[in-house]
């Protein structure tokens, strides 16, 4: 069981109602307390007033026959008041509404001058006991005990009614607050519903749509941005996927039609074993091309999807460069090209993949180098990046082709296709590998000098002192 309902609107409404109720209760308690205290204060003043009155009356008169009458006169109109005067022996010398007092109040040992509240006969009283100086029959000073009580039942009843009333008010107030909150939350969350509606309209075909970031309330803007980012990634993945299918279908068409044609022609007449062998060997070459293309495409797809393992091995770029020079030396020699290498840097990477990426760059550089020129590999540490540049001297790549050179199946010149060379995936593979390792690749080509530059994050632990 969830403690809270799923709906935000309901949650907000309930929360708001609860908080309002708590607030009202606190206000009522505090105010009620204040009112009660105020009333008590008034009662105290009244009591004190009566005590003073009795004291004054008694002070000026001896306990004569007419004292009760004078007291009666003084208390006319004070229906709430009860008074009992007792002499030192405890005899009651005067009483008005003495039935207001109970045993505990009449007790001789009761504490003097302390206001107490009691209940008798379903009514509430407040009162105190004090001593009053007077003269007795013989005009001797004597001390009387005065018990004064005020009927405050009407106050208590009033307070109770007010309290009851307030509780009802709080209850309805909370309900009204909940309704307000429901309305406020409902209209406040309207942007969310609009977003939902937009999101619902999205499908694979309409991945280009985005949620409006500027209209989104601040609270959900991050969500909108994250959502849009996700759409962006989905969109580009989808596009890549369909590009991938289109590319591969297109590129497969050539070798397959070669295969079909030459096989059909070969089968249309009886031929010598040598001729058959020739056809089969030629077929094999086409098959190899297809197989290689498929595995390269898969490699790129996996790299772009991030499905290839990321090794965290420290790879020394200079070592890899030297190993590759070793590999390409013979080929370079044939072309009269020299490969040189300078610099040092280590990156955290998958060694095999880095080697493959560099191999493609070198192979590309050699292919486009002028006889007698050199291919220069230079490695450097720059801030947190290792850079590796491969420079070759040859034809300038037209600037409009530079941006596409890393795209799949891009070829600088179409006729190379005919020679069964790489299907134009080498540089795409290199880019995939570099990007997979968190780096990037760029190329410049000016005045016959073409430079490919790799930027890769330096190996954290093994990076040599910055130079």
């Amino acid at each position: 069981m969830r403690p809270w309902p799923r709906s935000l609107t309901t949650r907000l409404a309930l929360l708001f109602a609860l908080l309002t109720a708590i607030l009202l209760v606190v206000v009522v308690l505090v105010q009620g307390r204040a009112v009660e205290e105020h009333l008590r204060e008034l009662d105290d003043q009244e009591l004190t007033g009566k005590v003073t009155l009795i004291k004054n009356l008694l002070h000026r008169a001896e306990l004569s026959e007419n004292l009760p009458r004078r007291l009666d006169d003084a208390f006319i109109g004070h229906d709430m008041l009860g008074v009992v005067l007792r002499n030192a022996e405890g005899r009651v010398v005067y009483g008005i509404r003495p039935e207001n007092f109970g045993e505990p109040q009449l007790d001789d040992d009761a504490v003097l001058d302390v206001t107490t509240i009691w209940e008798k006969g379903g009514k509430q009283y407040i009162g105190l006991q004090t001593t009053v100086d007077a003269l007795d029959f013989w005009s001797r000073p004597t001390r009387l005990r005065a018990l004064i009580g005020l009927d405050i039942s009407h106050q208590v009843r009033f307070l109770e009614q007010v309290r009851k009333r307030l509780w009802i008010d709080i209850f309805f107030g909370a309900i009204i607050a909940a309704l307000f909150a429901l309305f406020a939350a409902h209209s406040g969350l309207a942007p969310l519903r609009r977003m939902t509606a937009t999101a619902r309209g999205l499908s694979a075909k309409h991945l280009g749509e985005r949620l409006a970031e500027r209209d989104a309330p601040t609270e959900v803007r991050d969500l909108v941005i994250a959502f849009n980012d996700m759409l962006e990634r989905l969109d580009s993945s989808f596009r890549r996927l369909s590009d991938f299918s289109a590319d591969i279908a297109h590129e497969l068409r050539t070798p397959i039609s070669n295969l079909m044609t030459q096989t059909e022609v070969a089968l249309s007449h009886t031929r010598s074993p040598d001729e058959y062998r020739e056809v089969l060997a030629s077929n094999l070459e086409e098959y190899e091309r297809i197989a290689r293309m498929v595995s390269d495409m898969l490699f790129i797809a996996q790299a772009e999807e991030g499905r290839l393992p990321k090794a965290t091995e420290a790879v020394n770029l200079a070592d890899e460069g030297r190993a590759l020079i070793d590999f390409y030396e013979a080929l370079a020699d044939e072309k009269g090209v020299q490969i040189v290498i300078a610099g040092e840097a280590s990156v955290t990477a998958d060694r095999l993949m880095i080697r493959r990426a560099l191999s493609n760059l070198l192979s590309n550089a050699l292919r486009h180098s002028l006889t007698g020129s050199s291919v220069e590999i230079s490695i450097a540490n720059r801030a947190s990046l290792a850079t590796l540049a491969v420079k070759n001297y040859g034809d300038t790549i037209p600037s409009d082709q530079l941006s596409q050179i890393f795209e799949r199946f891009h070829r600088a010149s179409p006729e190379r296709h005919r020679h069964g060379e790489s299907a134009g995936l080498g540089l795409a593979i290199t880019r995939s590998i570099i990007e997979m390792h968190g780096g990037h690749i760029e190329v410049t080509s000016e005045a016959g000098v073409t430079i490919f530059i790799l930027h890769l994050p330096l190996a954290a632990a093994v990076s040599p002192a910055n130079t």
Binding site: A281, E285, V294, D326, L331
Partner: protein
């Protein structure tokens, strides 16, 4: 040498059998997992070529049971999925090597021979073909008694060709064995390297021992005298 092929794809199975028979092996072919397992457990095979995607019982199941029953023969598995998990899983289950479809038959043959040779290394000091001699200890090469100077890589290339005499070596295998380039690299490099080696060890002499097999690779063999 007895080899078991477990492969459900009919053409693939037939041609693998044919190719391996012609390479001089005794070959049995099973067309599904259960048959393959039955044969693997009852026959005495030196090596199993095992497809992963099989009806009735997949390659992993076959491999697991074969290994659990204590058979130690090398297993080369074939997979159409170039997933890393597949490779790791196969090797963890006790396979010895793998090939991703599509592969070159010459590559398969080379791997099969490597696996069969494993554990039975007869260390030789000198490799020979006709009058070509390669001294492994002193790292010297001579032909018809004439000393030939080779670079380190040329020496390694010739050593590979001599060790695998009579076997067609695909370019990718040569790149991997001699230069440690374990990926589809520029195969022109291999052509150039072999050409240079030929200039040194083959061209001035008779008979020519290094032969190009079109579409497949290179082989070093002494031609039968006519």
């Amino acid at each position: 040498m007895k080899i078991l092929i477990v492969e459900d794809e009919p053409k693939m199975g037939d041609y693998l059998r044919k190719g391996l028979l012609e390479a001089g092996f005794v070959v049995d072919l099973a067309r599904d997992g259960l048959d393959g397992l039955h044969l693997a457990l009852s026959g005495d095979y030196d090596l199993i070529v095992l497809d992963v995607m099989l009806p009735s019982l997949d390659g992993w199941g076959v491999l697991k049971t074969v290994r659990r029953s204590g058979h130690e023969m090398p297993v080369l598995f074939l997979t159409a999925r170039d997933g890393v998990e597949d490779r790791v899983r196969g090797l963890e289950l006790g396979a010895d090597d793998y090939l991703v479809k599509p592969f070159a038959f010459s590559e398969l043959l080379a791997r099969v021979r490597t696996l069969l040779r494993r554990g039975r290394s007869q260390e030789v000091e000198t490799l020979r073909a006709a009058d070509l001699e390669l001294d492994l200890l002193r790292r010297r090469v001579s032909r018809a008694g004439v000393r030939i100077d080779l670079t380190a890589k040329e020496f390694a290339l010739l050593e590979l060709l001599l060790r695998r005499q009579g076997q067609v070596l695909p370019r990718s295998l040569i790149a991997s064995q001699v230069w440690d380039m374990n990926f589809d690299s520029d195969t022109n490099v291999i052509d150039v390297a072999v050409r240079r080696l030929r200039v040194k060890v083959d061209e001035p002499f008779e008979p020519k021992v290094i032969r190009t097999v079109r579409g497949m690779g290179y082989v070093l063999e002494v031609p039968e005298s006519p």
